[in-house]
Symmetry: C2
């Protein structure tokens, strides 16, 4: 095992060898090399920039087609997608929602918007996503299954949903989670914000949840500037999502009737136009991203004390964001590596602070979270833009 100082300098040196020699290398830089100009300009030329226009419909159709889901509903961002998905999944105020503590804050916020309570679960190192075995044991211990659902015996509240997240684009092990949801009468909602282009056992992520949420933020593999979508294979839920995210307006030739508290979560046509052009290039982006991942994996293959995260057997990952995982004995090097790389213009980031440690969520229910805490302390995300793959793909 290498010494602490060795690991820091080895990692920094390796990264400098791999990434381009330029002033600043971002974690993610979007690539606009397709029909972006032409589609966006058409929006301006025809004045269709807002919530109605052909690109929203086209983007939704293309999304459904690519992911193999029956329905896709475009919205303003991934947070909005999660919020709408949880509402339509039946999550209500006072319910608990199981989610990994290793996630972006939006996963927990979406539950909180409804007045529901995040219930944090641990992850497994092989997927960086929910640990199904550990979750099963936890639920067996703390829940009581009643005719109307699954109840947390400790808090007295209903547990309504499980929201696994495909961390950095890597598919979580979905099949055992589907089984758990069946057994405990829970609804599965996939947080697929990062996994456009990632497949689980040959099928696109987002097909296992009753509903799934995708993000097209500027840092994602395909972007609409800001945007998201809800995927589902259920016609009735798709209709509800569309209604809920478009102010719940009841169709009428001119009257303004809204039949529930709705949301203004529409994706503007301008942004959908960008999305259509981006989706066309997704296969190419994935190829480039996977090539970048392979370069990192090879570079760090022989080095003791650090690994570059690699997809597991059932997963075909989009490698949205590459991650180095330090051995536990080198966790204390994380901040040194972050400091040295960032100060030298190579953007690196730690994992998110675990959600259960954030002020507003510290009192939420949880299970043993030791793996997530361990991973957070020793994980470093490294530059992963598709353009880095230009020389490798």
């Amino acid at each position: 095992m290498s010494k602490q100082s060795d690991i820091t300098s080895i990692v920094v040196t390796k990264l400098k060898e791999i990434v381009p020699n330029q002033d600043f290398v971002a974690l993610h830089e979007p690539l606009f090399r397709g029909n972006e100009w032409s589609y966006v300009k058409e929006c301006l030329d025809t004045s269709w920039v807002s919530s109605v226009g052909k690109y929203v419909d086209l983007f939704e159709r293309k999304l459904a087609e690519y992911t193999g889901t029956d329905y896709a509903i475009a919205v303003s961002n991934g947070t909005a997608a999660l919020h709408a998905a949880l509402i339509v999944a039946g999550v209500e105020a006072g319910d608990e929602v199981i989610m990994p503590t290793l996630s972006f804050v939006a996963t927990a916020n979406a539950a909180a918007y409804i007045g529901a309570v995040p219930h944090f679960a641990d992850i497994e190192e092989s997927t960086l996503g929910l640990d199904a075995n550990k979750l099963d044991e936890h639920l067996a211990r703390i829940t009581e299954i009643r005719s109307d659902g699954c109840y947390n015996k400790n808090t007295g509240y209903r547990i309504k949903a499980v929201v696994p997240m495909h961390t950095f684009g890597h598919p979580v092990d979905l099949d055992p989670l589907v089984e758990i949801c069946k057994h405990y009468k829970l609804v599965l909602v996939e947080d697929a914000a990062e996994s456009m282009g990632s497949f689980y056992k040959g099928r696109h992520t987002g097909n296992w949840g009753l509903l799934s949420a995708v993000s097209f933020n500027g840092n994602k593999i395909v972007t609409t500037g800001g945007g998201g979508a809800i995927l589902t294979n259920d016609a009735s839920l798709a209709k509800q999502v569309k209604h809920l995210t478009t102010t719940a307006k009841v169709p009428h030739k001119w009257e303004f009737v809204h039949d529930r508290i709705g949301f203004n979560y529409r994706m503007p046509n301008l942004n959908a136009a960008l999305g259509c052009a981006q989706l066309e290039q997704l296969p190419d982006f994935i190829e480039k991203k996977r090539a970048v991942a392979q370069v990192y994996q090879q570079a760090f293959a022989g080095i003791e004390g650090v690994v570059c995260f690699k997809e597991t057997g059932f997963a075909q990952s989009n490698y949205w964001l590459n991650a180095l995982l330090l051995h536990e004995s080198h966790a204390s090097c994380r901040d040194d590596i972050l400091g040295q790389t960032n100060s030298q213009g190579i953007m690196t980031r730690p994992a998110w602070n675990p959600l259960h440690t954030l002020d507003m969520f510290v009192n939420c229910p949880s299970m043993d979270l030791s793996m997530a805490v361990s991973v957070c302390n020793r994980l470093i995300n490294i530059p992963s833009s598709a353009c880095l793959g230009d020389e490798y793909a």
Copy 2:
């Protein structure tokens, strides 16, 4: 007074004379004749399309400059702007929020998102906005002012805020509302969604509320595709709004700490670029819109039983959306006029259904709403695009 059938045919004939002879004339059509393509193209060429980029900052600066407010914070839409403004204004779950029943559903939804309750108030015919006198009498009757705020004696709940809305761009009479808010310990939040370019007593709307909400939806006088902004003259509130609408992330060189339940309400740079180009043309759009209004006013000036709404003495309106007001005795012609115009390709719309009549708000507290109900029954919005002013301005 003209007969019912006369009024219908007079109105339809007049509208056909005024609007262009084409297959379809919209209520609002955006105009992109400035730097839209050049700014948007720059976003694509530099890859800055998302939540960070120079156009968001520039748009905020230009907005503050134009409206004469100290701070403007760009967000994803007008609903998000209202939601954030109400939170930062201190509205909490269980509070009541006074608003006109004549408004778009977003005004009430924004309160409902917080768990607050809309409390509906009546309007005056001369502004189509909140009737301050009637509100004052109502509050005198039903409220008790305590050290910690104003309480509704009927419901027991605190009334926290008053949210006047500048209907169709016409400024409401703000000064008496400011007095009422002072007297009753209420916070004033302006719903200025429709009033970009509208001035009250020589100063831009949005300067009277502690915070104000603006919209840049596709139908507004200037558009960002989808977008909104919060205006305020308070540095601390501006900072809170920015924090709240950008996931409440605490600045750090790399850590992901969020210190409250925040929202993903950012305006993407791509949309802000469009907004910057649109703002440059706002003075021209206003001129054109005012010219269109004058043509309508002159056309309907001599006709008994119908008037085209005109700004009052204290107001300089953007005339975002022109409205015909039928005399009460002709209210029954409204649907005939709507039917005939829309079937002939001239888009017209009634006012929104009063908010207190929508299912989810029927049990909300309210006062006598007879003027709003009367106006709703006899109001018709007519085509008001700036491009119609090309021949008049």
